[in-house]
């Protein structure tokens, strides 16, 4: 059982390389509060309509944003790889690609289809009794709620040029939906506390451009499930609300249940585990709380 000294030293040396290189990815986090109809949020006695509380609107963002645009236009970073799932390495490895095909995703995106879906979803919301006559699209092309433009507060980062370019592109695309976009740019220390550590129900933010470093290629189901849990499962504490007591929480019992089943090996066969994994990938994508955009090396 004793590992020889040389063996240990060799392996520790290998581990020390760990921090020297990095592969990164970027995602767009959406604030879904209250995540149910009629999509209204009370803040300081004022009522706001949150379009990202509508799942169809969130999901349409996949098509609204062109991954090809990021690949072709962002400057100051290395190789950019388009992403729809949290895995920079082969999104088709364990069958994830079948969802990408089924859902009609493409690297170019589908701007027209996304805009149509968002318009339909907002029009449908406008017919809800609680929103009838209050949520309207006016001649200027913008959606209004109780006489005020429906606002999206997009938090972006400014540390490097490509982050600003990315923020500008996302803001421009979102504005095409008829939602008014307020751009709030800042460095990590300015944006992160508000997005991650303020109650989402305060509606201080609607969307945030996130960046992740991933030191490992996710070659095993176990590794990939760890990422799925971190990026999609509320129980991990990395989704809106972050499990902080007193905050509004994004919840998803099905994702949490399946993550628990996989993590604790509450399955009979490897086949069952593989299918649980695919369930989780699909749920994470279609919930569209965290939308993956691209991976990159620097």
């Amino acid at each position: 059982m004793k590992i020889s000294l040389v063996f240990t030293i060799l392996c520790v040396m290998s581990l020390s390389v760990f921090a020297a290189f990095y592969t990164s990815s970027s995602s767009l986090l959406l604030n879904p509060v209250p995540n149910e109809a009629p999509y209204l949020v009370e803040v300081s006695e004022n009522t706001f309509f949150n379009p990202f509380a509508i799942k169809e609107v969130r999901f349409a963002i996949y098509g609204l944003l062109s991954r090809q645009y990021f690949c072709d236009n962002l400057t100051g970073i290395g190789t950019i790889t388009p992403m729809f799932t949290p895995f920079e390495y082969s999104e088709t490895y364990f069958g994830e690609g079948s969802f990408v095909n089924e859902l009609g995703f493409s690297y170019q995106g589908n701007e027209d289809g996304a805009l149509e879906t968002i318009t339909q979803a907002l029009t449908s919301a406008a017919s809800l009794p609680e929103l009838a006559g209050r949520l309207v699209k006016l001649g200027d092309g913008f959606w209004y709620f109780d006489g005020e433009k429906v606002q999206i507060k997009l938090y972006t980062r400014t540390e490097e040029e490509y982050r600003q370019q990315m923020g500008d592109y996302i803001a421009n695309q979102l504005e095409k939906t008829g939602l008014s976009v307020t751009r709030i740019a800042g460095v990590f220390g300015q944006t992160t506390p508000i997005v991650y550590y303020h109650d989402p129900a305060l509606l201080e933010w609607s969307a945030y451009t996130e960046y992740w470093g991933s030191p490992a290629p996710y070659l095993s189901y176990e590794g990939r499930l760890r990422v799925i849990k971190q990026m999609y499962a509320p129980s991990f504490g990395n989704m809106p609300g972050k499990g902080i007591p007193g905050f509004w929480q994004y919840t998803n019992e099905l994702i949490d249940k399946k993550v628990n089943e996989v993590e604790n090996k509450f399955y009979f066969t490897e086949s069952e585990m593989k299918n649980l994994y695919l369930d989780l990938v699909k749920s994470g994508i279609t919930e569209a709380i965290r939308i993956y955009l691209f991976g990159y090396t620097r």
Binding site: L10, T23, Y93, N101, P215, G223, F266
Partner: protein, 273 residues
């Protein structure tokens, strides 16, 4: 009366023949496994159909309306030596991947074939991922080269997994301690896991211990009966039992598997017909 009986029989036979011909009558599974939750409610049914070189597993579960629906199908094809040559997974009616295995006799010291290559495809035609396997002279897996074929362009990402062993375990039943490292050759990304496999005299694995890669220590403990049949599989993390699977047999025939959580509470049970 007698003529009516023969007429009715003839009609029945004709109906059966026509039902079979239009596949109204489904083939009978070779094995049915019924899955129940902690309260004994049936939550899933796994049907297995086996032929000489083919195995099909069909898992059904109840949808929101209480109807049984096909959740996934795993079709495995085997060669004449019963080694898998193709796996085809269909998840919720959608082909998820086709995995093809290729074999060669790569370790000269052994009279056996080894997996030399595995290809992954999401449609059965276009290869999106490929793995090439390398072994040392004692037959131990030493390296897997991964080729990740990015379909949008000419780029092919490549990384490899290296298995570094401590000592020279020449027999497959000896304790194996090794490091499993993943190396991305484009970026230099690297992670290492430390693994220990322990075997019993019957060359069956009794303990699999893994640590590293940012994960906690994970241990799988396996127990066997006198006939070398697996009777329990315990999963531990950081020294705590997380779950245990218990296998129950009638003679040598597996009849049920129970999964219990760390407190011993039944989570799921699968009964095999």
């Amino acid at each position: 009366m007698k003529r009516d009986f023969w007429l009715a029989s003839l009609i029945m036979i004709l109906l059966l023949v026509s039902a079979c011909s239009i596949r109204v009558i489904a083939p009978v599974p070779d094995r049915i496994e019924e899955e129940t939750d902690e309260n004994g409610n049936v939550i899933g049914i796994l049907s297995t159909y086996e032929e000489d070189n083919k195995k099909e597993e069909v898992y059904k579960e109840k949808d929101e309306n209480g109807n049984w629906v096909e959740k996934w199908i795993l079709l495995t094809l085997f060669d004449e030596e019963k080694d898998p040559i193709e796996e085809r997974l269909t998840h919720q009616g959608l082909l998820s991947f086709v995995k093809r295995y290729f074999y060669e006799n790569l370790s000269s010291s052994r009279d056996r074939k080894d997996v030399s290559k595995v290809e992954y495809s999401s449609d059965g035609n276009t290869i999106q991922h490929m793995e090439e396997y390398t072994y040392d002279l004692t037959g131990r897996l030493t390296r897997i080269d991964h080729y990740d074929i990015v379909t949008t362009g000419e780029e092919v990402y490549k990384w490899h997994t290296a298995f570094t062993y401590e000592g020279e375990q020449r027999e497959p039943n000896e304790e194996r301690i090794f490091a499993e490292g993943h190396f991305n050759e484009n970026t230099g990304d690297e992670t290492v896991e430390f693994c220990t496999y322990i075997y019993n005299e019957a060359r069956l694995i009794t303990e699999k211990r893994t640590a590293g890669d940012g994960l906690n220590d994970r241990v799988l403990l396996f127990e066997y009966n006198d006939q070398s049949l697996l009777v329990s599989e315990e999963y531990q993390k950081e020294g705590q039992t997380i779950s245990t699977k218990t296998y129950l047999y009638e003679g040598e025939i597996l009849r049920s598997i129970e999964i219990r959580d760390g407190t011993g509470k039944l989570v799921k049970k699968r009964t095999i017909d």
